[in-house]
Amino acid sequence: MVEIFGIPSYALFGQLLIGLINGSFYALLSLGLAVIFGMLNIINFTHGAQYMMGAFAAYLMLEYLGLDYWVALVIVPFLIAATGIVIERLFLQHIRKLDHLYGLILTFGLALIIEGLFRNAYGSSGKPYQVPELLQGGRNLGFMFLPNYRAWVIAFSLVVCFATWFAIERTRLGSYLRAATENPTLVRAFGINVPRMVTLTYGFGVGLAALAGVMAAPIYNVSPQMGSDLIIVVFAVVVIGGMGSILGAIITGFALGVIEGLTKVFFPEASSTVIFVIMAIVLLIRPAGLFGRTV
């Protein structure tokens, strides 16, 4: 048995792996929050509920329609993004000119409604979701056991994160988006339909959350409250990273997941609070966040 710092390597790398998994969800969710905040100036409190909806949609599709994980992975993000677009058209577009705080309160209310409806329909207990057949089992790497599904989640979320980064920082559409974030009026004057872009941006951010939800379904149990506790941690991640940079959000997400995992090995009592403690320290040393511009 290999030992590192007196800890068996299986335990250490096992927690590191869980940390990377959590980190990939933090990264996907904070990425979505950052993109939405950039365009809409709203902190989307509904994000956690939309992540939960993604997981539930995958569960329901398997249960009632017999559609497997892979179909869900493709369809669900678009489905939940569509509900997001409806929310943007119905509610969010009306409060764009108000103080930011109203956006937070409104999306908080929407999150309560969604969570409440799901709790009424499906109760509070978690529902198991099978790991897809193709990714069952795992391999022994000598120093740790690596379940295939977990490796897939990490790899795939890295791909999605960098695709998002590429789309925003390196494509023409992304340049419109960045320009509209800086100065929407001017971009409109160039004949670009900014309101539609805002709507689609919200849909995109929500889709990312739903994608994270589908990926999370086989790892955690699918339950109505799975999003609400997670979103608060993601808020802390966003505060630590600052919302100015896409790459910053991705790196911060993964890094904090890993730190949280390692804390579980060395100091388990603090594992649920470590991210908040880091947030407090970062705020004391560098109030704008690690990658943030001063506000």
């Binding site: 905040f37 937070l104 409104l106 209310g109 929407l110 409604i113 409440g116 609400s228 802390a236």
Partner: protein, 322 residues
């Protein structure tokens, strides 16, 4: 023109003070009469939440800071005063004092971290800090985990008044809450309060006028946390219980809801909002999870069509200050 414009402003100000005095007298009269008609425990619960909401409103309404973590002060004060009364055997006045002080101390710590960022970040930071302390409460041995601290003795106030008697307890709670209410009114109408409003309206300008806005904001935050702590301590004595519900984020959300429904930045709004929401929750308790949905709907409706809140709309319709 300036000379013509001046008198009406003075006039509305005097009218405003008169309307506030009338409303205050009405509120006190209702609260004195209420326990003969309504179940006193419900009233005491609503009063504690009214004080909690007023404390929260001091921040959002007069400094423009949305704290999404006020359950931190409310819940922890409730735990500490329950612990003091039950385990240490402190008399109620000492237990309440301990709870209130813990609110102040936590307010200084959380406040000095949170005021480093503005606006939306402030809300997220307070929420995150409160969640952190929720996890601490979940793990800490003295809080009793899921069970909370039960059967907290109410004791004898100053060794004289037996608080296990429902009406004595009601009078004690009423006096404390009204004192808190008047204290907040004093704060917002003091020179200090005027500076707070200036910060709310335009912080950079307040800075350029030479005000150390961070200190003012921290001070307001600590005052708000202290009063939230007082509310939590009283609540622990009323229900003889301190539990995880009081430190969870849903509690922070509820106080936002109460203040929003009553009217942000109005003097009486939080009280009205607290009574309404507490009544609604008691009435709807039988419907279980629907409470969450209904709360959500109220949030959405308030933001979209009803931003002034009940008291705000009333004041607007009557053209007075409430």
């Amino acid at each position: 023109m300036a000379a013509l414009a001046d008198p009406p402003i003075v006039e509305t100000r005097r009218d405003g003070e008169r309307s506030l005095a009338v409303a205050f007298a009405l509120m006190v009269a209702l609260l004195v009469a209420a326990p003969f008609v309504v179940y006193p425990v419900f009233l005491m619960q609503a009063l504690c939440f009214a004080l909690f909401a007023c404390a929260f409103n001091l921040l959002i309404g007069y400094v423009g800071l949305l704290s999404f973590g006020h359950a931190l002060f409310f819940g922890w004060a409730s735990y500490l005063s329950a612990h003091a009364a039950k385990i240490w055997g402190f008399p109620p006045e000492a237990a309440v004092l301990i709870g209130t002080t813990s609110g102040a101390v936590l307010g200084i710590i959380a406040g000095s971290i949170a005021i480093r960022r503005q606006g939306i970040y402030f809300a997220m930071i307070t929420l995150a800090l409160a969640q952190m302390m929720y996890f601490v409460a979940l793990r800490a041995p003295f809080t009793g985990g899921e069970d909370g601290i039960q059967d907290v003795p109410r004791g004898r106030l100053f060794g004289v008044f037996d608080l296990s008697h429902e009406m004595t307890m009601y009078v004690f709670i009423l006096v404390m809450v009204l004192a808190g209410f008047v204290f907040i009114y004093r704060i917002i109408n003091s020179p200090f309060g005027e500076v707070l409003k200036a910060i709310r309206e335009n912080e950079p300008r307040a800075v350029s006028l030479g005000y150390k806005t961070d200190r003012y904001k921290l001070c307001a935050f600590v005052l708000s946390a202290t009063l939230a702590g007082l509310a939590g301590a009283l609540k622990a004595l009323v229900f003889q219980l301190a539990s995880l519900t009081d430190v969870y984020w849903t509690m922070s959300g509820e106080v936002v809801l109460m203040t929003l429904v009553g009217g942000l930045g109005t003097v009486f709004g939080p009280v009205v909002g607290a009574f309404l929401i507490v009544a609604m929750e008691n009435y709807l308790a039988q419907f279980g999870q629907w409470v969450l949905v209904i709360q959500g709907v109220i949030f959405v409706a308030c933001v979209l069509v009803f931003r002034r809140g009940i008291v705000g709309e009333l004041a607007h319709a009557l053209g007075v200050k409430l």
